[in-house]
């Protein structure tokens, strides 16, 4: 029974490596597993699959690069699996600021510091949208209305999610608060705007075209204007120091050897240039935004800091 023998052999080898521990020479000698803590088919999964395809097609790693979906509890199920994994570079996590939201709100007992940042791959900035028939034509109109009637405006969003925090930043910049209508992802927000159940929402860039004729964009929420809509001013230009960009980042368990982190980061950075990943960026409206090492650490610190700064506003608008 050759299969049986092979399988026994394989198991024996697998057990052997597990016992021998992480510190073996020549980092990638078995498949590298990337845990995506969200379901198949979403944006996170899309980038992960594109990176995987890029790495596999262009032989950027000598071993297979494997994507595993472990969805649940707003990304914390998969994140915990990486938190508890052997710090050997063979288990990685890809997550955006949802991790910061869960940590800031104290929903989990870990913090970004408990992970080793590997690389930031892409960024997708949102924009402020109101329904096409809305009376608000500029961000200033909208903020003036918010100030005139605190708590009167309704924003379609997810309470306690990675977009609730930048919304809270906008509230504190405008010096007022409004209500969050819990709806869900961008398509549900679109439905809420269209049905007249909300006044504003943060939407992702594909909705610039998909929502044409139904949505009126008021402000881009990046540092720069969108190339696909150069007339749309940023919120910063209009005097509100707010950005809302989902940054997709890769993490390893704390204590992963730097060589392993470097090797994986190299492969992912190289994959960013492949046509597979470029096609993903094209379709999702995200931009390549590679950050590594100290620049990455600084960006994470600033990002998480900005979340902690508005924690009170977020809690006040979550009914806690």
């Amino acid at each position: 029974m050759p299969t049986l023998k092979a399988a026994l052999c394989a198991t024996a080898i697998g057990l052997g490596t597990a016992i021998a521990g992480p510190a073996l020479a020549e980092f990638p000698e078995r498949p590298v597993k990337l845990i995506v803590p969200f379901g198949a088919g979403g944006g996170s999964d899309g980038l992960a699959r594109a990176i995987q395809a890029g790495i596999e097609k262009h032989d950027l790693l000598p071993v297979p690069f494997v994507v595993v979906n472990a969805p649940g509890a707003a990304g914390t199920v998969g994140t915990r699996q990486v938190l508890g994994a052997e710090p050997d570079g063979y288990t990685l996590l890809q997550i955006h600021q949802e991790m910061f939201a869960a940590a800031a709100l104290g929903r989990v007992d870990y913090a970004p510091d408990d992970f080793e940042p590997v690389i930031q791959a892409s960024r997708g900035c949102m924009f402020v949208a109101v329904p096409e028939g809305s009376e608000y034509r500029t961000l200033d109109d909208l903020m003036a209305a918010a100030k005139a009637a605190p708590g009167g405006l309704k924003q379609a969003d997810d309470i306690g999610s990675a977009t609730h925090f930048p919304s809270a930043q906008l509230m504190s910049q405008a010096g007022t608060e409004w209500r969050i209508v819990p709806t869900g992802g961008t398509s549900k927000r679109f439905a809420a705007l269209k049905g007249g159940f909300a006044d504003l929402a943060f939407m992702s860039t594909p909705w610039l075209t998909r929502g044409k004729g139904e949505l009126r964009p008021l402000a881009a929420l990046g540092e720069e204007r969108f190339p696909e809509m150069p007339d749309l001013p940023t919120a910063q230009e209009q005097g509100y120091d707010v950005t809302a960009c989902l940054a997709r980042r890769y993490w390893a368990p704390k204590g992963t050897p730097p060589e392993a982190v470097e090797a994986v980061a190299d492969a992912i950075e190289a994959a960013m240039g492949t046509e597979e990943v470029q096609a993903y960026l094209e379709a999702s409206g995200e931009d390549a935004a590679v950050l590594r090492g100290d620049a990455l650490r600084a960006a994470i610190e600033a990002d998480y800091g900005s979340y902690l700064d508005v924690l009170d506003v977020v809690k006040a608008t979550s009914g806690q």
Binding site: I35, A40, G72, A191, A192, G319
Partner: protein
């Protein structure tokens, strides 16, 4: 739209054929249900594209409803629940020496029912979704209430059991992250429960693994005696002569299927009653009346296809199987609901086209494979049971790559077994488990939108209408329950010690 249809009939065709054939096969084996095979296939579809996954599952759904016909006709055992009414007239027809003709009529009825309902699906879904896009949280909430109240209506006669099952399903859906405030609740400090009881472990446990343990009770029962292998005999004459029966049953079946909360079984019972009431010789029913087979089979397939309407236009499941399909769409990030047509027209039309293709495939496969199926029904189930458990374990594990979900599945298998022994139906349990979070989220969202007021539930026309329907169906169910209890008491009282005659198996 044409792209979607082109894909269905080219790249999607293998999945259609595979799904339909598997569905028919499983549907024809008593004890293996359609919900079971679809739950089992769900984890496999993680590795497929969303549209192919839906094609596979939808065709399994269509196939499983039809497959029940074979064992119902030849062995007087409904292979699936939806074929219960087929046993009444299909088996007597076979017994009097017309098994081929009974099967032929049944296959044709399934096909015609499915096709007529498909026309309704294709015509009605796009405009309905345009209306539904404007639905706000209270409209959706009111519809989930209708679906939940229909649980009561379909549990007539054992209302308390149905309500307890639904109550348990609702309770089980609560732990985890609160859909509105994003905070944790009912996790009892255990982080493994942060995501609650995930869909797949619950489905696999209560529907599949529980059934395996039920089958373990008597696995060595000898297979039923071999009957004569039948072939399918389809005659034009049987179509023209009973043309109106086909149409009536199909239309009734399709409309009942469209109601959120009920599916093929209710459809076939209703159509059978109507057909019997309208027939010239109602006394023939139950003794091998052709119209009986036609009514049951046309209506259950029409109801199956009709139940896809609320699924793709509103995101509200009409039956256990459509609840599983809804779960499949969520897993593949396809956002079932009013926006599906606007946002993902390809997927909506893939489902519709898939239902059409599955119906055609069903006709072909039933025609060719029924003699084979008749023989396969005698396989000893004991050989299948361990493999089914192993598949379920891998399936539950694959949800989030953790053993905890397998443990959850085993716990729900124990629960499902207990429910089987206690004669508590699992249908209301699954439907309530899926609908409760939907109801809660929309109710509380609506409260934010309407400044904490419940009033719009009564002043907005759509929610008010739906709540009225819900109230009506609850009253109807209660009245029926009281009447049957009174009748039961009257039947029991005179000779003391007579066994109560309800819930015979």
């Amino acid at each position: 739209m044409l792209d979607a249809y082109a894909h269905v009939f080219t790249g999607g065709l293998p999945w259609i054929l595979l799904g339909t054939a598997t569905g028919i096969f499983v549907g024809s084996i008593p004890g293996l249900s359609g919900a079971m095979v679809i739950s089992l296939a769900l984890p496999m579809t993680y590795f497929m594209s969303g549209s192919d996954a839906l094609l596979l599952l939808v065709s399994m759904y269509v196939g499983a409803t039809t497959g029940g016909l074979v064992s119902a006709t030849l062995m007087r055992m409904p292979g699936t629940e939806a074929a219960i009414m087929t046993t009444l007239d299909g088996y007597p027809m076979a017994a009097r020496g017309e098994p081929g003709r009974a099967l032929g009529i049944g296959v044709l009825a399934s096909f015609i029912g499915g096709m007529l309902a498909w026309v309704i699906l294709a015509l009605l879904s796009p405009p309905l979704s345009v209306v539904a896009v404007r639905f706000g949280p209270y409209e959706i909430f009111a519809m989930t209430v209708v679906a939940l109240s229909l649980i009561a209506a379909i549990s007539r006669g054992s209302l308390l059991a149905g309500l307890m099952a639904a109550g348990l399903g609702a309770l089980v859906s609560l732990p985890g992250i609160d859909p509105i405030s994003g905070t944790l609740r009912l996790t009892f400090g255990f982080s493994g429960l942060d995501t609650g009881f995930a869909l797949l472990p619950v489905l696999l446990g209560t529907l599949v693994v529980a059934q395996v343990f039920v089958d373990c009770r008597t696995p060595s029962a000898p297979p039923p005696p071999r009957g004569e292998a039948a072939r399918v005999a389809m005659h034009i004459r049987d179509v023209t002569r009973y043309a109106w029966s086909y149409v009536r049953a199909s239309v009734i079946g399709a409309w009942i299927g469209i109601l959120p909360g009920v599916g093929g079984t209710t459809a076939s019972i209703a159509a059978y009653s109507v057909e019997k009431a309208m027939a010239k010789g109602p006394e023939r029913f139950g003794r091998g009346a052709e119209e009986g087979v036609i009514a049951s089979e046309a209506a259950n397939n029409a109801g199956t296809v009709g139940a896809l309407v609320p699924l793709i236009t509103l995101g509200i499941p009409g039956s256990v199987i459509t609840a599983v399909l809804l779960g499949a769409m969520v897993i593949h990030n396809l956002n079932p609901g009013p926006l599906l047509f606007a946002e993902n027209p390809g997927i909506a039309h893939t489902v519709i086209g898939g239902a059409l293709a599955a119906n055609l495939a069903m006709l072909l496969i039933m025609w060719l494979a029924t003699p084979l199926l008749a023989r396969l029904m005698y396989v000893r189930k004991a050989w299948l049971l361990p493999g089914i458990v192993i598949f379920c374990v891998i399936g539950a594990f694959s949800v989030s790559n953790r053993w905890l979900d397998v443990g959850v599945m085993l716990a729900f298998a124990a629960l499902g077994y207990l429910m089987h022994r206690a004669r508590i139906p699992t249908g209301p349990f699954i439907i309530a488990y899926i609908l409760t979070p939907m109801a809660e989220q929309n109710l509380r969202s609506g409260l934010v939108v309407y400044d904490g007021s419940f009033l719009p539930l009564l002043t907005r026309p759509v929610p008010a209408l739906f709540l009225l329907i819900a109230l009506g169906s609850i009253i109807w169910a209660l009245a029926g329950e009281l009447r049957s209890r009174r009748a039961q008491r009257a039947a029991i009282q005179p000779p003391p010690g007579t066994a109560p005659g309800h819930e015979n198996r």
